[in-house]
Symmetry: C2
Subunit: 252 residues, 2 copies
């Protein structure tokens, strides 16, 4: 039986990958994805690996569907959850625009742990009340829409998790976002930078919004912006405070 | 060594619980949580189980901290991710308000797969672009704030995942939310009802917003409201269409 499974690998550590995902990866004949994600998949004998560039999502999705149509068991892999700013949407776009026969393929999405939850767990419980997830990339949407969404979210008191905060090609967007948010939120609202959580190079910092420094972020960073109701709980010397959102919310 | 771990069990199926969570559960001396969640934890010899009512979050959190302070290895369990409308915030609230000694405890949060990702995976990729998660319960926030957040999210084009959509004590809120959203969004925006995903009683339905029926939801349901840009991809007879959010977004 051929199939196509779109698999979220989780944030990095093997111990955060679901058993469901691990079982499917072991049975796949073909692993397809962005190189660094494919490299995270344990090797299985005879398995073919197709490592592609980060930008070629739609071509990669069509390739995966074509392989499954030829009889392969294809795993398309993403970091985190494949449905969150990752490959799942690209596969369904390709499927919608492709040959009718593709719609009869055995396609499934296997969920994974998205970066914001791994980051939140390290920090405490910053997402403990209403929150939103927003890609700061303006590659696939106009920048004014990003600003509109940031304003709507901050104005209504959502905690904001920012994916794709910065890259070499998008150096100014995060600073612009912080500047906008400083006009709407108190300067002591906590901003967390969580980089490569659960991987060896993990790094975490919390800064007040007034001083939040975009240079803290890179492509592996999840940036989380709290609200005026976010709480910091000091711990012992040398330990980061816990950051959490109270269960009860007041109007912002 | 005593510790307190706040653990997300995932949406239900064992195959969606992280290996990290399973390992900690096996080593705990005490499991604490809402009865149906504690019942999901595999039995380990000599382990004590403390099943409490759903409403007593803060008391349960204090109990857990007190046990850890006495030397126990305590697992506080939640369904999904413990940081999403679940026990993690309650533990940090209890910790903040409790004895200073509690701040020296070895506390950690182990992330889990939240219901909206399990639901999204079954549906396709409905969260493929910006989205928010909102509890529809007005037990811990004023209802006007819920309405404000729904309006902000829908107005800015976020996909909306509604947690706690309905209960015996909160029968009208979901209908009110649909009525509000009908004034803002086209009637054909897809609304998904995903109940008990990955458990034996799993049930999924998609309806257009114009006809969305609150009676489809119960306490185990995650309700997801798409946007005018959400796509439905028909499949073969007897199969639900795929639902996905395109990677590119236009202004709503």
């Amino acid at each position: 039986m051929s199939w196509l499974k779109i698999i979220g690998l989780g944030p990095g550590a093997d111990s955060l990958r679901t058993p469901e995902a691990s079982a499917a990866l072991a049975e796949a004949t073909d692993i397809i994805g962005y190189g660094p994600y494919v490299a995270r998949v344990p090797h299985a004998p005879g398995q073919r690996r197709h490592e592609t560039d980060n930008r070629q999502e739609l071509e990669r999705a069509r390739h995966a569907l074509a392989l499954a149509a030829e009889g392969a068991r294809v795993a398309v892999v993403s970091s985190g959850d494949a449905g969150v700013f990752a490959m799942a949407s690209a596969v369904f776009e390709a499927l919608e625009g492709g040959p009718a026969a593709w719609r009869a393929l055995d396609v499934a999405v296997l969920p994974g742990l998205s970066a914001m939850f791994a980051a939140a767990a390290r920090l405490g419980a910053p997402l403990g009340h209403d929150f939103c997830a927003l890609s700061l990339s303006d590659n696939l949407k106009p920048w004014p829409l990003v600003e509109q969404r940031l304003r709507a979210a901050a104005g209504a008191g959502f905690v904001i998790a920012l994916y794709n905060p910065i890259s070499r090609a998008r150096p100014w967007q995060l600073g612009r976002a912080f500047a906008m948010l400083r006009e709407m939120l108190p300067g002591d609202v906590p901003v967390a930078f969580a980089t490569a959580v659960s991987r060896p190079e993990e790094a975490i910092a919390i800064q007040p919004l007034a001083e939040a420094d975009p240079a803290r972020a890179d492509m592996r960073t999840l940036v989380m912006i709290g609200t005026a109701q976010s709480r910091l709980v000091p711990r012992g010397a040398g330990q980061r405070p816990w950051l959490y959102a109270p269960r009860s919310a007041r109007s912002p």
